[in-house]
């Protein structure tokens, strides 16, 4: 089903590249009053367990926020593939993600997922789309998320002026872990998350978008990082910044650093020293 969304989006993208649509004001499609995608999904224990096995989370009664993210991803794709959406979704890059969990969702619970475009703002390299999601159970807000995507080289008239904070230069520290990702890792994550973006699943498609080969889902790397932190608190905030993609198969050097209430997990290319993903969990 999501593949269909991708295909539709791809078709729309082609059109948008030819003729970027700009007729609709940004306020109509982003911000507090923008349209919402609301859906309800049951956290099926089996589905959640299968997801957990793939991302190395322990299988237990609580649902990891990374699974919640996957439930919001489809609706966000639908929003960004809408004909009046100003930029092409295919080719967009996931650059950052923030989740705040207030209390965990339990398996078997019915989760109401609300997704909207929070903002469309300028970026030094193009335009940044911020997608917001809320996850509620019985009217209680369990978690909220902001997913940041970058549409490279695209300018959207009316986009909010925004200056991203400068990234601190990355100096590779001593690794405390190592991950090995294979193409099958991407297959498995695609299966359990539903994210079947061809850049993860097909070498030719990946090359068509300028990658050296298939790349792992950014959110998979992020999910592994969160799993490595082993958060035991109910409430926490999780910030992820994506830098460069991991081409498959690939070895990833990782360092987990616990410092007070914040634990950072950084992942980088052990040979080049370039970061793949930097993240923190704060309880």
């Amino acid at each position: 089903m999501m593949l269909k969304t991708y295909l539709t989006a791809a078709g729309a993208s082609v059109l948008k590249r030819v003729k970027p649509s700009s007729s609709v004001p940004v306020e109509r499609i982003a911000g507090a009053d923008s349209p919402r995608q609301v859906s309800t999904v049951v956290a099926d224990p089996q589905d959640v367990a299968e997801f957990c096995r793939v991302v190395a989370e322990p299988v237990r009664n609580t649902v990891p926020v990374t699974w919640l993210h996957a439930q919001g991803f489809g609706p966000s794709l639908t929003l960004m593939s809408a004909p009046d959406f100003p930029v092409a979704v295919v080719g967009m890059v996931h650059i950052a993600n923030t989740v705040t969990q207030h209390e965990p969702v339990l398996v078997g619970e019915s989760v109401t997922v609300t997704v909207w475009i929070d903002s469309i703002r300028t970026h030094a390299k193009g335009t940044e789309i911020v997608v917001a999601a809320r996850f509620e159970v019985d009217g209680r807000l369990c978690a909220e998320e902001r997913s940041h995507y970058l549409a490279k080289g695209v300018r959207v008239p009316g986009a909010d002026e925004y200056e991203q904070p400068e990234r601190t230069p990355f100096d590779p520290p001593q690794a405390t872990m190592e991950w090995r990702f294979t193409p099958r890792t991407a297959d498995a994550y695609a299966r359990v998350s539903g994210d079947v973006n061809p850049i993860h699943l097909n070498g030719l498609a990946a090359k068509a978008f300028g990658f050296r080969g298939r790349i792992i889902h950014g959110m998979y790397t992020a999910a592994r990082a969160l799993a490595a932190v082993q958060v035991r608190d109910d409430a926490f905030t999780w910030d992820v910044e994506f830098a460069t993609p991991v081409v498959l198969p690939g070895r990833v050097a990782v360092r987990v650093d616990r410092s007070g209430s914040t634990t950072s997990v950084d992942a980088w290319n052990p040979r080049r020293g370039k970061p793949h993903m930097l993240s923190t969990v704060t309880v």
């Binding site: 096995r53 405390t176 190592e178 099958r184 050097a253 360092r255």
Partner: protein, 438 residues
Amino acid sequence: MTQTPHPAQSTPGPVRRAAILSGNRIPFARAHKEYARASNQDMLTSALDGLVARFGLAGERLGEVAGGAVLKHSRDLNLTREAVLGSALSPQTPAFDLGQACATGLEASVTIAQKIRLGQIDVGVGAGVDSASDAPIAVSEELRGALLELNRAKTVPQRLKALSRLRPADLAPALPSNGEARTGLSMGEHQAITTAAWGIGREEQDALALASHQKLAAAWDRGFFNDLVTPFLGVQRDTNLRPDSTLESLAGLKPAFGRGLSATPTMTAGNSTPLTDGASTVLLSSEEWAAAHGMEPLAYLVDAEAAAVDFVTGEEGLLMAPAYAVPRLLARNGLTFADFDVFEIHEAFASTVLTHLAAWESEEFCRERLGLDAPLGAIDRDRLNPNGSSLAAGHPFAATGGRIVASVAKHLKETGQKRALVSICAAGGQGLTAIIEA
């Protein structure tokens, strides 16, 4: 992370002494060589049979046999019991498996000793075995998942769906790695980090390795192992032993670990233990049982202390746990290093031993990490691993504890010395230490 030692709170009960009567092992062999076709069960059975013969215990029912392996086949759920059944012991001898990674062998002896001390059993065997050659090979996670799904499927479409996930690459088997489950880093890479952090040099590592080979060779030559080892499959000595090693030959080896670190890599195949196959056993009993069977104890297993560290976050080195266990063990028993004649520190890597020694000498480490007012102090190298250790003998993970316990007990008896400290680091950031007294 401060792990403050604290004295025992419980009042001593009517415990007995647990005597170490002796041990038996098969010579350790480098992986994929002489024992390549022997299973853990084969090796453990042979080691048990040698022990049984040494004490004329054929047909005897012992209290219990504890044992384990680190690399274990799923079919070996009852490995030790199966080995007992295949041995000359009475089939009425119960057995159980346990595991604490490389500390498995020592934990087996400690557990048997505690049962003896409490009067639960009168005699038992602590054992351990590992084959890096006959290692379990698993199917890939993908294939395993699909097969399990297939097994659960009830309808044809469900079955087809289960199989449809498979790709040819999924059929490739998964070999066991010595990578830590939570970090994916090999033990050598973990130790390389610790080695660099403590600034342990290449030369002192090579010197320790050389001493290990020389001491083990000397022990073999003077017949020290005549009543501790029984040959197996034509192997009569530990095959990793290189009596002709020199500092020059060791210095010529290329670094094997830590090549990605900013510090100069120092750990080589020469100052690290190789993958090894082997099995060991230790016979322990109450003093009454020993006397009734006309056996004179070599020594007594007095106390043990385990520790663990948080290595996942990089807060402490993977193999540093013994550095924390030892001060707690000393405090509980009211002892200092000066009270020990022998220190048996398992040589997972030369640098592991050297970092432990450095840690105990470091005022900062002892104050900040151990919560001590003063450093534990230096260990006289002459008292360290007097008959060689794992760098020379090799290290079949779960078999190392039994090798050390039996050897050091005999060493105490032979030299008339009083007390030995045994320390074994283990995967998972663990360490197990014990006191053995004559």
